[in-house]
Symmetry: C2
Subunit: 426 residues, 2 copies
């Protein structure tokens, strides 16, 4: 297999504190390499670290003196220590916005914050995860960065590859809207349309990884997935540091594959173990669109497994009908005392407008999902409005303009004061 | 006049180090107030400061310890000292990207940087200037934030007003593209379409300012213009600080009204006077689109005055045919040893693609203008490739997708390895 032609043992691999890959299901450990499934049980592999030898206060100082991007957390990520010196998009350290206007509308009294990841270089949280995959790709000797995508990921991979001097080849369904094609194609990499739907694209990518034609290719969300996924930990680190090294009481996280939510939990647990924050209970809430709510459905039914759904929602960036990390999300929501909820497309649109009109943040549909779910959870008495709450906005409204296309002019007037007065605006 | 019903003397006004308004033409000084034209000569008023009493090293430390946004420079801006505590979008401190790949393509050996203002909250530099106008509006007791706009400014005003709890009312030509209307309307303020072109919109706004109907209204780029314009100084401060408190040798700045370029020069001069950077020569280059190049035309003809043009270019955010600060731009370009140049729409598109493919930065058309002009100036031997050069990207490509709509798929294939191989991508 192509993946075995590159460095694949921990000894020859410098990914900072990353020590091995460990199976999330059976705990079987393998050396760091471009592999993603356990050879024993086919469970997902994730990065295991060696954080021994860190002094808490030294580590805190080192982080605080670090750059205003995710690399301030390099000691906690699967990246070489000199990562910040290599060309990459330097994502992260996005604003944690104290959302007092939104809090008033929702009746939150304990402090409400929006973690606004639309401030990333290509305006979605995907820049965080792609940046990790890129470093792994460098270390494993890949020369092409690749992925299957229908949106945010395509742009994030294209941009990161361009800046890092990698070739990129991104696969998308051939009939995507023109705007989305432009956003992915502009970075000059190969952008290949596949005659078929997103499932067909994914199937094809899996075939390509096992074929000589895919030799030297790092698929950020397939053979580099264990590293890629760790990027979401930085959301947890930043939230805690931006709150003054404190855990929030409640976090509302969108669910696509569920990976982001599980890694945020992993990140918070690490902060506790490292002594960077005081240990205290926190609740994690998962947010889905009703039109693609396999995890929410399982949660409400009290199931441990997630039954796949055929997505039908405007929240395209969350439209994964068979979320790989679904069972882990259920586990985390239940363990922390959180829950999983969903909202309709109409509620998503309302929530996008609510966030824009209260805080001046124009969110992608995924942000409408988290804000809408937050509102619903408060109304249902599930989320405690007297507690510190962080809501994630993972993308930018400019990428999903269609969802709010009904937004328009308040009035149309002639260029005269008379016409202005007649419009009743003063 | 409506503007005289609110506080209008310096004594009652706390705008930090701002001491008065001073006429750029005749030097006549008036108290700080919501006025923009000299009562003596009708010249433009600008903010004059009292920076006496600043200790250079204390000031530097204070700035470096400040927030990661424009308010780190509050001691140098017309804002109250507690500005960072008031709800606003906290723009600025955007990335200064070391653009080594682009440098190689352009043959720059002295260090090439892109100041990427697409990282601002509404993804253009307008957030910087609107944030200043907002603080002035608060101080002068305005309750409605307004402007005329055809794009970036509308969104920046709508978002800033929403977050700050101001009413907003933005005027645009009624026949703008739907996408641009959505980007401005999403923040929930009044968005009024005017039956007419942009000139008609501006004329109407001028009328409204003098009418009782406009009482309590702060037009960010009209009666608040002196404060608004100062926001562009922060680009100069950030560039110098991000270069390690050093002046670059050359800066390439887009020209719309010309205000940004003149305020960048003002900011650099202040840094020198305050001792925050070592005094050394720097050259400022102005960049226009050929389809709206009144300043470039005047520069090349050796004129001191700028003859208005009717804009016809894809660089809509720079399409001001009669730029108010045109003569000052000519003066600065000549005084610093820079120049003013323009590029065709085709060169703009090429430059957008060049920047995206080399650095992973997707720029607005205005960014295509500055990168395109930089290339042209190097080819013509005007810009020295052996010197440190900073190129401004003032906006985001997601807002001008139409300009690069020809960008598309590299190939379309069936979801099989055979079809992939036939496409010749490996």
């Amino acid at each position: 297999m192509a993946v075995q032609t590159v460095a694949s043992t921990t000894d020859s691999v410098n990914l900072g504190p990353a020590a091995a890959l460990s199976c999330r299901e059976c705990g079987h450990r393998v050396p760091l390499g471009p592999v993603f499934a356990c050879e024993e049980c086919f469970g997902p592999l994730e990065v295991a670290y060696d954080f021994s030898g860190y002094d808490t206060e030294e580590l805190r100082k080192r982080i605080e003196a670090g750059p205003a991007n995710i690399w301030r957390y390099a000691p906690l990520l699967p990246v070489p220590a000199d990562v910040a010196d290599k060309p990459n998009l330097n994502p992260g350290w996005t604003k944690l916005v104290k959302a007092d206007n939104l809090a008033r509308e929702l009746g939150v009294t304990g402090g409400l914050y929006v973690k606004d990841d639309s401030g990333n270089p290509t305006h979605s949280f995907k820049d965080r995860v792609v940046a990790q995959a890129l470093e792994a790709a460098r270390v494993f000797g890949f020369t092409t960065l690749s992925c299957s995508s229908t949106g945010n990921l395509a742009g994030a991979v294209g941009a990161a590859a361009a800046r890092a001097g990698f070739r990129s080849c991104v696969f998308i369904p051939h009939d995507l809207e023109q705007g989305k094609v432009v956003m992915a194609a502009i970075y000059g990499g190969e952008l290949v349309g596949i005659e078929g739907n997103y499932d067909d694209v994914n199937r094809f990518c899996s075939e390509l990884i096992g074929d000589p034609a895919g030799e030297g290719w790092g698929f950020v969300n397939v053979n580099l997935r264990p590293y890629y996924a760790e990027g979401s930990k930085t959301l947890a680190y930043e939230i805690a540091e931006q709150l003054g090294w404190e855990l929030p009481d409640q976090i509302v996280v969108p669910i696509a594959s569920g990976s982001q939510l599980t890694k945020i939990d992993k990140g918070l647990q690490e902060l506790i173990k490292l002594g960077l924050v005081e240990d205290k209970p926190y609740k994690i809430f998962g947010a889905q669109a009703e039109g693609c709510s396999p995890v929410s459905t399982a949660y409400k039914a009290g199931h441990d497994v997630v039954r796949p759904q055929k997505p039908n929602t405007i929240a395209k960036s969350l439209a994964i009908g068979n979320p790989a990390d679904g069972p882990y999300v259920l586990d985390i929501a239940r363990r922390t005392g959180g829950s999983v909820e969903d909202v309709t497309d109409e509620q998503i649109v309302e929530a996008i407008k609510l966030l824009a009109r209260t805080e001046g943040i124009f969110a992608e549909t995924a942000g409408g999902v988290t804000v809408g779910v937050t509102r619903k959870l408060i109304e249902n008495g599930v989320l405690d409005p007297a507690r510190t709450t962080v809501v994630l906005n993972t993308g930018d409204g400019l990428k999903t303009l269609d969802a709010v296309a009904d937004t328009g002019l308040t009035a149309t007037i002639r260029p005269t004061l008379e016409s202005f007065r007649e419009a009743g605006l003063v």
